[in-house]
């Protein structure tokens, strides 16, 4: 083996706090207590990814999880993802209304451009819309040309704001992947909160060149895609895990402070006929608890502040 350069044993950031300047080191249990409206203990943030996976995927710098995997044209993955936006989402709407959920929709701007019917439906419902990037193959990544990324952020947000008629204050990067500049570009384009960093259970301040924005805790570990397709657990197991998480967070909230149960779900995963029942079971279980507050992401952030 070749010898490593001596700088491999130098540790320039080995000091109190984090090894970067984006946020402060802080343990959750040491922070001030948080109370939700009407004395509720657990905010339920159901976040629905409405995604467009282009057939002509470039895969730069990697193939987005959930994207095309076969040689072009990968009709199986293209159409199965499209299924969610044509069929599965309408099952979601019914379930949300039945159990009193207030869903936040994270939308690929390219999908919004392509599906005016669906966008009008969400606008009529009055649910919160946040931006999920331009499309799932338009990744933000380390080494990306900064001008190119700046144009991508601007195009994504300007387009979705125009179509939705909403201010669009929230953001999730495709694959929750970022460049070193992404948070700065988001702040420059009017984003006040983003959901890429999964290092906390509560909102916290994230520094950018244009002042702080808020990192909102959207769990990857509890995602339908992560558990059912990445980990290959059954939909029933996903539901068990969510119910266990709900019980635990509610218990923790009783002794400590208000907590957030964030469920990031996708109509192409849970909107399938054999899985939708498990989503309904979960929503029934959670929403039947008096201490639970179903809310939009923006409402949770407003109550937190």
């Amino acid at each position: 083996m070749s010898t490593l350069d001596k700088k491999y044993l130098h540790y320039p950031h080995r000091s109190y706090g984090m090894d970067h300047n984006r946020y402060e080191w802080s343990m959750l249990h040491e922070r001030p207590k948080v109370s939700w409206p009407e004395g509720k203990l657990l905010a339920l943030w159901v976040n629905v990814g409405l995604q467009f996976f282009p057939l002509n995927q470039k895969g730069i710098p990697f193939k987005v999880p959930g994207g095309m995997t076969k040689p072009y044209p990968d009709l199986r993955h293209y159409s199965l993802r499209d299924y969610g936006n044509r069929v599965g989402i309408y099952r979601f709407f019914k379930a949300f209304d039945q159990y009193g959920v207030k869903p936040t929709f994270a939308v690929s701007t390219r999908l919004a451009e392509r599906t005016p019917y669906l966008m009008n439906k969400i606008k009529e419902r009055g649910d919160e819309i946040i931006c999920h990037g331009y499309h799932m193959d338009a990744l933000h990544y380390g080494g990306q040309n900064q001008v190119e990324e700046a144009e991508l952020v601007k195009k994504s947000l300007d387009g979705l704001r125009q179509i939705s008629g909403q201010a669009v204050k929230g953001w999730i990067s495709p694959a929750k992947n970022e460049s070193a500049n992404t948070p700065d570009l988001l702040a420059a384009n009017g984003i006040t909160y983003f959901c890429d960093w999964v290092n906390d259970e509560m909102p916290y301040a994230f520094q950018t060149q244009h002042g702080p924005i808020t990192a909102m805790p959207l769990s990857t570990e509890l995602e339908d895609y992560f558990i059912i397709l990445n980990n290959q657990h059954s939909a029933e197991s996903w539901a068990d895990q969510v119910c266990d998480a709900c019980d635990f967070l509610l218990q923790e909230a009783k002794t400590q402070e208000g907590r957030i149960l964030s469920l990031n779900i996708h109509p192409w995963v849970l909107g399938q006929p054999h899985r939708i029942g498990q989503l309904e079971r979960v929503l029934d279980y959670i929403c039947s608890k008096e201490e639970v507050w179903p809310a939009y992401a923006g409402e949770i952030l407003a109550a937190f502040k």
């Binding site: 083996m1 070749s2 010898t3 540790y11 990544y141 999964v198 906390d200 266990d244 149960l261």
Partner: protein, 311 residues
């Protein structure tokens, strides 16, 4: 490169000298929380890439940070509830970054053993002096921040050289004589301690740490559901507990706060801890205490038995 690491001889599991743990226990049970610091932008190593994405690797970095910000206190409260002192596999740089965590563990008289400086600085490619320096840095940091004479080692990110165990033992002797650097968690060949051959002939043992019961192996590599992991922990315990009536066994649960403390997983873990500590003949202990007890009472008999059975 060698065909065999040369650390130990073949030593069949049957007919070994009988081990009896303190107070008639059949099994020594320990929990080893890995408390780690992963760097957002570590230097490159030609043999292993720290993150799957180009810098910044937000998904991997941020969930590990969650373990320190949120997960640590959850697991700590659980171990308190069941009377378990953690044996921490520590990224020594965490003493500098997050001293609050170190203080909480010190208050509980938990053990700190070395897991290198950062979990993003690999042994691969280090020359002997570099590896010795890295090992010494970590042991000195543990002494400075905790007052403990580090006894055990799990190489950072399980990255090794041919000399890893030798260097750890030698630095331990240099710093602490026989009171430091006397057990390893890096070998997975047995359910009981094993005397290890070292070039220094130091009295040194391998203590079973278990990859199979490791939450990150279960959740991240094997991708099992939480309840299946909880059942595996109980099944593992049941068999080792029963076999321990014949000769004492060891069960370790190696954990990571970013895995086992997640709200959807902690219940399965708690049920296993409740089950295990609910048995009477369990010695709930630490890695260092197991290694010390074995070195004092069984190490010499083991050496003699191994020699007698050597071909």
């Amino acid at each position: 490169m060698k065909e065999d690491p040369g650390y130990y001889d073949y030593w069949p599991y049957e007919n070994r000298p009988k081990i009896e743990w303190p107070n008639g226990a059949q099994i020594a049970f320990w929990v080893a929380p890995n408390i780690e610091y992963y760097e957002l932008d570590p230097p490159t190593n030609p043999y292993r890439t720290p993150w799957p994405q180009p810098h910044p690797a937000v998904p991997g970095y941020s969930i590990r940070d969650w373990g320190n910000r949120v997960g640590h206190i959850r697991q700590m409260e659980l171990l308190d509830k069941y009377g378990i002192r953690g044996s921490i596999s520590l990224s020594a740089a965490l003493c500098d970054h997050h001293p609050e965590i170190i203080e909480m563990c010190k208050e509980r008289n938990w053990e700190f053993f070395s897991h290198g400086v950062y979990n993003t600085r690999y042994t691969y490619g280090m020359n002997e002096q570099q590896e010795r320096d890295m090992i010494k840095d970590a042991m000195e940091s543990i002494l400075k921040h905790t007052g403990q004479k580090c006894a055990g080692y799990l190489a950072p990110a399980l990255s090794h050289s041919e000399l890893t165990l030798d260097l750890f033992a030698e630095v331990g002797t240099e710093l602490f004589g026989e009171e430091g650097g006397f057990y390893s968690c890096d070998l997975f060949h047995d359910d009981q301690p094993t005397p290890i051959h070292l070039r220094s002939d130091k009295r040194f043992v391998s203590i079973p740490y278990s990859l199979e019961m490791n939450d990150t192996i279960a959740y991240l590599v094997q991708k099992v559901p939480p309840r299946q992991y909880g059942k595996a922990l109980k099944d593992n315990f049941d068999r080792l507990y029963a076999e321990g009536a014949e000769s004492g066994t060891i069960m370790c649960i190696p954990t990571h706060n970013y895995q086992v403390s997640c709200a959807h997983r902690i219940k399965a873990y708690e049920e296993a801890l409740e089950y295990i500590t609910g048995h009477s003949k369990v010695w709930v202990t630490t890695g260092r205490e197991i290694a010390s007890f074995y070195l004092e009472h069984y190490y010499d008999a083991a050496l003699a038995d191994i020699a007698a059975k050597r071909i």
